[in-house]
Amino acid sequence: MTIDVDAVLVASSERVPAPAGRASGNLLAPFTPWLSTLAILLLWTAVSAGGLIGPRALPSPFDVLAAAWELTANGRLPAALVASLARVLAGTALGLVLGLGAGLLAGYYRVGEMVVDRPLQMLRAVPFNALVPLFIVAFGIGELMKVSLIAVGVLVPIYLNTFAGVRNVDSKLVEVGLVYRVPQRLIASKILFLGALPSILTGLRFSLAIAWIALVTSETVNTNAGVGYILAQAQRFVRTDQVFLCIVIYALLGILTDYLVRRLEGRLLAWRKSYDGR
């Protein structure tokens, strides 16, 4: 059996479910995108084992694993993950509902655009971490401030992509709905919303990336639970292994959410016949 390297690479990019037959018989295919990451890990191990940089500055991957074990055993890491995930979920859900709602409102109705678009375009221009002092004043230093900050970060890309997605739907398809006197709600849901969905999902991916950034930012303010709290503590006690651990956790959570959205895209956008890379 010959292995077509191109086919393996294409089949392994999880963007769209690979066409049947392409990846058949190759069990390793799903892991090929991880090879470069593995190489970086090996390099990291080699450099830290070489002793050129001390463990204070660069702990080895094993130190980081040990830190993970230690923090899991004493219960701090699981508790922190639960706290952080809860914040991200709440903030993302809130931002998603508001951004989607505003985007559809502005997309469907010119009046909606007039009301909603300018303020949100201005909000877009503001780096959301510049809002931290304002939010502390408005919402205090508790959970509400953190969730709101994440929500604002999530809201903007969802809004922009929903609005643009609705407005980019081919007006010829809308005409079909008009000719056949299809009810407005069907035009809104089956033509405009489904037509905007690819764009909305792109917005969702941007949003989730920002959600994690917003989480880190918000957790640097008066936190006593969460991954950001462990990070702050580790910094104070110069536990570089724990600092690395937190960074790795953020990276893994980011990859996980991206993977979930890709899966969602594969499911919801199965109708697309687009260029898949070669």
Binding site: V176, V179, Y180, R181, V182, L194, W271, R272
Partner: protein, 253 residues
């Protein structure tokens, strides 16, 4: 009583007149083709009948029960073929109705695929099925076969002709292909400078055979009315089949 009646219908876009005082009666159950060069206003006329465009002046009497097939099939790519056909229908049997229509256009096997996997001709069949399920009185066709290859085009013309016979619709078809017009229509309306230049009746009932010898002179007459010069046609007719000749001359717009 005509099914569609246009009286003094005019249309201007930004001050430029596209249609001027068009009067047209289209009898119930008839097949009318509207031919004209690009910019003659034929598509605008169809869009006005369809209610997609408002006339600047004049009266239009038409029915609510009309269906349109456009040059592009305009299927919703994110709905399956059968869901496209039944799109907007009410009732529990909507899926069955849609499947029956797909049988009628010969595409039952494609009911569950995505529209983007269809060929151009197949997509147009789905678009016809989508029109079919609305049980229209009037079917409007806007250059429906313009983007199809020659063979698929003949197939689709036959299908439309047969559906027209079977269902007794009134059909109004806009086309720039005079061969297509004389194959299918009872009457061919020649549009020029935004008005009806002439109405040419076609004997017999469509779909006519492409090599019907009566068609070539009619197609020739239409081309002349459209202002296409073709000296020497008569002598060429002796050695070339009329259809081939006419289709080689047909790209008017």
């Amino acid at each position: 009583m005509p099914d569609i009646r246009l009286q003094h219908v005019s249309k201007a876009f930004d001050g430029t007149a596209v249609l001027r005082e068009v009067d047209l009666d289209i009898a119930e159950g008839s097949f009318v083709a509207i031919v004209g060069k690009s910019g003659s206003g034929k598509s605008t006329l169809l869009r006005i009948i369809a209610g997609l465009e408002k006339a600047s002046a004049g009266q239009i009497e038409t029915t609510d029960r009309l269906a349109v097939a456009f040059q592009e099939a305009r299927l919703l790519p994110w709905l399956s073929v059968v869901d496209n056909v039944s799109f907007g229908l009410e009732g529990r049997d909507r899926k069955k109705v849609a499947l029956d229509a797909l049988v009628e256009v010969g595409l039952r096997a494609k009911a569950d695929v995505w529209p983007l996997t269809l060929s151009g001709g197949q997509a147009q069949r789905v678009s016809l099925a989508r029109a079919l399920v609305r049980k229209p009185e009037v079917l409007l066709l806007d250059e429906p076969f313009g983007a199809l290859d020659a063979l698929t085009k003949l197939d689709m013309q036959n299908l439309v002709g047969e559906l027209w016979r079977a269902h007794g619709w009134t059909v109004v078809m806009v086309t720039h292909d005079v061969d297509e017009a004389v194959r299918l229509a009872d009457r061919v309306v020649v549009l020029g400078d935004g008005t009806v230049q002439e109405i040419v009746p076609v004997p017999g009932t469509g779909p006519r055979d492409p090599d019907d010898p009566a068609l070539a002179p009619l197609a020739g007459r239409l081309l002349r009315l459209l202002g296409v010069p073709f000296a020497g046609r008569r002598s060429l007719e002796l050695e070339t089949s009329p259809t081939r000749l006419a289709s080689s001359l047909s790209p008017v717009s």
